[in-house]
């Protein structure tokens, strides 16, 4: 493997960004309503030149007001999940680690359901009410991660396998809580929650929330990226890394907190979109090697591409019905994972 230079890093990221751009254009074109590629191209150019008055009326509503926000959301959710997955896999030195293995999605679901239950008892203005579910989900995710962190310590030290076990047990306990809470919901909320738990990008976010997601993504990913070189050394083992001068406890806390925030943000706005955080890091590692300095940005692009593509499928396969995007990622992800496993690539 040739050493990573800044040039190589930029070239690879540019290539991935190019693929992402193509996927985004495809995602803008495909959907329940037919949009011609020519009309789309014309609209995109007008849009880029800020000549919004020249947009062809009806399609611009569909392309720019319905599809584009959804694609942007998919990009940030996918990137967050994949970066979080990469981080957890490095931190726990376990190829099975993914953002949800520590019980985050279950915790978020409990938070979201509680928010829905509380919302019914509060008379909130229509501006605030839609924020309650994401906030509840985010708090649920963070509380779960904190709990798992403290459960996963042994003799004051965080132990990878104890942490994983604590996460798995918390997830199954929280699933039981979800089951109980779901049975108390009224039909309408239950339908909404069932969709939420399957991963859903179809509900537009409040603009303020969109900015929180984007800012959170860049801050947390930046924080993780500062530890990229340390994560490389950590792959050799914690003791070895420590001997090589890595401040292991600091790296662990930075990566753990940042990856948790990424997961919490992604889950709170999209529900549980499985397999992206597990599979994308593996695929990217096969293509780009396990140097985290390139792996982290590559995973971000890969996750974005994967989720946007999955969402295109979700919107088109059964059109005009919309499938939950989490079902699409699982349908495509599980067979792909098995294929990689059989070829001993994981």
């Amino acid at each position: 493997m040739r050493p990573l230079t800044f040039r190589r890093l930029v070239v690879r990221c540019a290539a991935l960004a190019g693929i992402l751009f193509v996927v985004v254009v495809l995602a803008l074109k495909l959907g329940a309503v037919q949009v011609s590629l020519y009309g789309l191209a014309r609209d995109l150019i007008s849009f880029a030149l800020h000549r919004t008055s020249e947009l062809s009326s009806n399609y611009s509503l569909i392309v720019f007001d319905i599809r584009l926000p959804r694609i942007l959301l998919g990009i940030f959710v996918g990137a967050s999940l994949a970066v979080a997955g990469t981080s957890f896999q490095a931190l726990l030195r376990n190829p099975l680690a993914d953002p949800y293995v520590l019980g985050v999605s279950s915790g978020a679901a409990v938070g979201a359901i509680l928010a829905v239950i509380i919302e019914a008892h509060l008379a909130l203005s229509p501006d605030v009410a839609p924020l309650l579910t994401p906030v509840g989900a985010f708090l649920g995710a963070l509380l779960t991660i904190l709990a798992v962190y403290f459960l996963g310590r042994r003799d004051g030290q965080v132990d990878s396998s104890t942490l994983l076990l604590a996460g798995i047990i918390s997830a199954s306990f929280l699933s039981a809580v979800i089951m109980f809470l779901m049975s108390t919901l009224i039909g309408r909320d239950m339908r909404g929650m069932a969709f939420w738990m399957m991963g859903d990008l179809s509900t537009p976010l409040q603009p303020s929330l969109n900015w929180v997601i984007r800012l959170g993504f860049f801050l947390a990913t930046g924080a993780i990226y500062t530890t990229a070189a340390d994560l490389n050394l950590l792959l050799a083992g914690e003791r070895e890394a420590m001997h090589l001068g890595v401040d292991v406890p600091r790296v662990r806390i930075v990566v753990y907190v940042a990856a948790s925030i990424l997961t919490g943000l992604a889950v709170s706005v999209s529900g549980a979109i499985g397999y992206v955080g597990l599979l994308v890091p593996h695929v990217m590692r096969m293509i780009f090697g396990s140097d985290h300095r390139i792996l982290i940005p590559a995973a971000a692009f890969g996750g974005a591409i994967a989720v946007v593509l999955a969402d295109v499928l979700a919107r088109t396969v059964a059109a005009p019905n919309e499938l939950p995007v989490g079902a699409m990622t699982a349908l495509a992800g599980a067979p792909l994972f098995i294929y990689l496993l059989r070829r001993r690539m994981v």
Binding site: L61, M190, V317
Partner: protein, 361 residues
């Protein structure tokens, strides 16, 4: 490594190819911008208490619930209905309308592409759908009736919003009249104790706050289930202990998934029910599941089956049809009975989801 890259690309390509194959349903070519230029709006308050700005006159309606599609037809406004859902099957003509998806997961862009003046939603739709349409400044009118009286009131109000107040008033008067006639016939009779079966495995019935429970009482019946929940899961033991006089089923329209009522009487638990042993089943139209004007027909149908004695001599009212002339206690069904299963209306979908939710998590 290259192989892996190729794999990834080929998987992605395969996915895309698949995504392109099912051609999206043709959408009528769109010539004009939504009629922003006509400033005629009317502010109305929907059943959820929200203020909705509805353009006047309403020319393009999209319905996201089977009950609302039926209501639009009942008001004679079918020509203005430009889109509805996969589950909108009554009247049969509604199946020919442009489909925008299911009730829980309609395609928002498909709805937007139809440039509706107003989108009608009911409580079987998700809040998220309502919110997504609202964000696009598409007027969304929500209905939420909880009993038969509210169904009629909601219909009248909707008629007014859609610019068919006269039709609405006439329809409401007719429905009220029919209900009053029915109450006249039934007033001397004690109500039948019934178990309304929404689902058989597990046994799911209706709670007392549903419009179905109200419809039962209008038909001279009283549900043995007295639950606060809308779709309570009832244990067979409880049903056996309470011994309903009749089991009431709503007919499905999907013949394939029928469960033979005959088979039910062979099953443990169920055969301990006297109503099952004596074949006291009342099977009524699936209209009872939908908060739409047709529910009154379902109520009449049920009343005739539960209280045939009240309909024996019919001096004023039109003679009952052959189908409705049923001897007391509804003898054993000779032809394969109509199923409690496979009822595809939204309400039953809800129960199926309830079950799925309970089992998966």
């Amino acid at each position: 490594m290259v192989a892996a890259g190729v794999t990834l690309v080929s998987v992605l390509c395969a996915g895309l190819a698949r995504a392109q194959t099912p051609p999206a349903p043709a959408v009528p070519p769109v010539s004009a911008v939504p009629l922003q230029s006509s400033p005629l709006y009317r502010e109305v308050i929907d059943d959820m208490g929200r203020t909705v700005r509805v353009p006047q006159p309403v020319e393009r309606i999209v319905s996201l619930a089977p009950s609302l599609t039926e209501t639009v037809y009942a008001l004679g406004l079918q020509d203005r209905l430009v889109g509805d859902t996969d589950y909108c099957d009554y009247p049969p003509d509604a199946q020919k309308k442009q489909k925008v998806g299911g009730t829980t997961n309609p395609s928002i862009e498909e709805v937007a592409a139809l440039r509706p003046d107003v989108v009608l939603v009911a409580s079987i739709n998700r809040f998220e759908t309502v919110r997504a349409l609202g964000d696009l400044n598409i007027p969304v009118y929500e209905t939420d009736p909880h009993d038969v009286k509210e169904i009629i009131a909601s219909t009248t109000k909707l008629a007014d919003v859609l610019g068919a107040a006269q039709n609405g008033a006439a329809l409401a008067a007719d429905l009220e009249q029919r209900l009053t006639n029915l109450q006249q016939r039934l007033k001397e009779l004690p109500p039948r104790r019934v178990l309304f079966v929404v689902w058989t495995d597990p046994l799911i019935s209706v709670g007392k706050n549903t419009f179905i429970a109200d419809a039962l009482s209008k038909a001279g019946a009283i549900s043995i289930v007295d639950a606060m929940q809308d779709w309570p899961h009832v244990s067979l033991e409880e049903a056996v202990q309470l011994q309903p006089e009749f089991l009431v089923f709503a007919a499905g329209h999907d013949e394939n998934s029928s469960v033979d009522l005959q088979a039910l009487s062979a099953r443990p638990g169920w055969r301990s029910l006297e109503a099952v042993r004596n074949h006291r089943f009342a099977v009524i139209s699936e209209a009872v599941d939908r908060p739409a004007p047709r529910i009154v027909s379902a109520i009449e149908e049920l009343a005739r089956q539960l209280h045939p004695e009240a309909f024996l001599e019919t001096p004023e009212t039109p003679a009952p049809t052959e189908k409705q002339k049923i001897e007391p206690y509804n003898p054993a069904p000779t032809k394969p009975a109509i199923p409690p299963h496979g009822i595809l209306s939204g309400l039953h979908e809800e129960c199926r989801e309830a079950r799925a939710g309970a089992c998966d998590r």
